[in-house]
Amino acid sequence: MDAVNSLMQGFAVLMTFDKLTLMLFGLSIGILVGVLPGLGGPNGVAILLPLTFGMDPTSAIVFLSCIYWGALFGGATTSILFNIPGEAWSVATTFDGHPMAQNGQAAEALTAAFTASFFGSLVAVIMITFLAPSIAGFALKFGPPEFFAVYFLTFCTFVGLGREEKHKVVISLVIGLLFAGVGMDTVTGELRMTFGFIELLKGFDFLVAVIGLFGISEILLTIEEKLAFNGKEARIRFSTVYKTWLTLPRYWITLVRSSFIGCWLGITPGGAIAASFMSYNLAKQFSKDRDGFGKGRIEGVLAPETAAHAAGTAALLPMLALGIPGSGTAAVLLGGLLVWGLQPGPLLFVEQKDFVWGLIASMYLGNLVGLILVLATVPLFAAVLRVPFTIVAPMIIAFCAIGAYAIENSIFDIWVMLGFGVVGYVFKKLGYPLAPLTLALVLGDRAEDAFRQTMIGSGGDVMALFGNSLVSTIMTFAFIFLLWSPLSQALGALGGLIWPGQKHNPAN
């Protein structure tokens, strides 16, 4: 049991006073980030990244990943109490979560959501513990063509699984890849697409883009909708928690099914949203009381929360094992690795054992502590949303500015962030997905390098991407995903299970 030994070492790394304090601090900030409109996982982590510059990488990743867990827990709170999904994958939680709160069962809904989240991520972490090392070991054999094929697969899954119009996904991806190419070409030393602007020499920092795309744009959207925060009161008594917990074993099939859906789709990029909808709809399909869904069924909360949290956690598996983030927040964490001077990829498991296993151990501990923390502090955090948005908004803007500035100590970056904020606002309103852009920005350079090395190795022959069985298999999968929607339409009924979002309307 190699993995178990390594995991124990990870716990040993974690058990220092400093790291445990950082975990608690990170979780609390994370819950706050998840609760506040305009701050979500990706930009919350990006804004707070500068705080970690002085830390050692293990403390830094523990701190940031705890912000992520906290944000996932916090997102459920706003979905249930305020009918505002904190992240796209919390949308399905509002279908039954908010009706439960309206029926006076807010405490039950919250307990169910948090416990389901905990269960989902526990399953995903166990999967990471045992799968990640072997995947990383396997990936050590990868050369440039294999890596390019994996990047290509990542991009194709976005196009194939995205709920948006296909050309918008492609545009978002390509824009991200092009932005990643701006600046000095690391191979030839030539300047690309800078049009004589010295500021563009270093290219666009993707963290700056994330803060603008997700932070500033979200503020603009929130202010435009003039969201009135009509929240339901929440006070969680231990007796309610206990009673709700006693009912949960009844729904074990829902929990297990949703966890597996979450783990499976979470590994593929952009899968968390699909996972939450799919498991919601499956729970509805298999339920005896289908008409009760949308009116406050507890399974309607359990299913999407389990899947979303499992997917959110599983998204870290490809990041750790292959250096490919499975979600926006994982992309930011990957950006963090680069800042701390670590090279993401399969070698992490060999060269940075303490770092990797410290992180995995912190996933176990962080989720457990997060569950207790969030159950205990929900009323406090729900009260934050009653603070007028005119006070919260400028503070978030200030934090965005600080985050953007601190990455490179450049005020120009604050302008870039504002620009991305406006772009994000327009893109979101037009239904252009932002996650592919983010991912392309962080992977762009490495995808290009892998492509170039492949081409150089083969003397310019594109067929090198089908050179051996491994790389051709990955490329074939990539093309299957690329053509996924016509294929799944052909499969008819199955497609209805995966994307019933259009059919399903919470108002009905």
């Binding site: 918008k168 545009i171 390509v174 690309r192 435009e224 909708e225 003039k226 005020i411």
Partner: protein, 172 residues
Amino acid sequence: MSSDPSDAASPSDVLVNVRPVEIVVCLILLGIGIVLAIENWRIGVSWGKEGPQSGYFPFRLSLILIAASGWGLCSTLWRSGSDDTAFVQKQAFARVLKVLLPTVLYVVAIYTVGLYVASALLILVFMTWIGGSKILISLVTSIGFSLAIFLLFEVYFKVLLPKGPLEAWLGF
């Protein structure tokens, strides 16, 4: 996003519909694609001495961008505009500008007075002008916030942020 039925607007409240914005965005993207394709063509898109030239990869990406935005443009033009929905209402856009403009001035202010003072001013403006809070409460909140982030970043985490004359006068 949530849509409030009471917010349903008459056509006169609409500043701009989705279709025209969709078309303009596609045109801009198309333009960016063409400009980048030309720029990359200039630095070389073919096979150099030691492998692909600098423009090789981005040039092909620009072509995909041109194709995808061209597709978007055509499909939008093809669709009939009769069932068009509002992109943004006039009042809603006014609210957006009320946030965006102070934010732009905020970034300008960072150059001269530093981030901490600028942040306090931003919160003050938001609370009094947009939120209609009392001056005293706004002053306490804004100064308290700036003080807190100063302690957090400058003192505790040692992250240096832009400072202005006030901080210099105070000896930082």
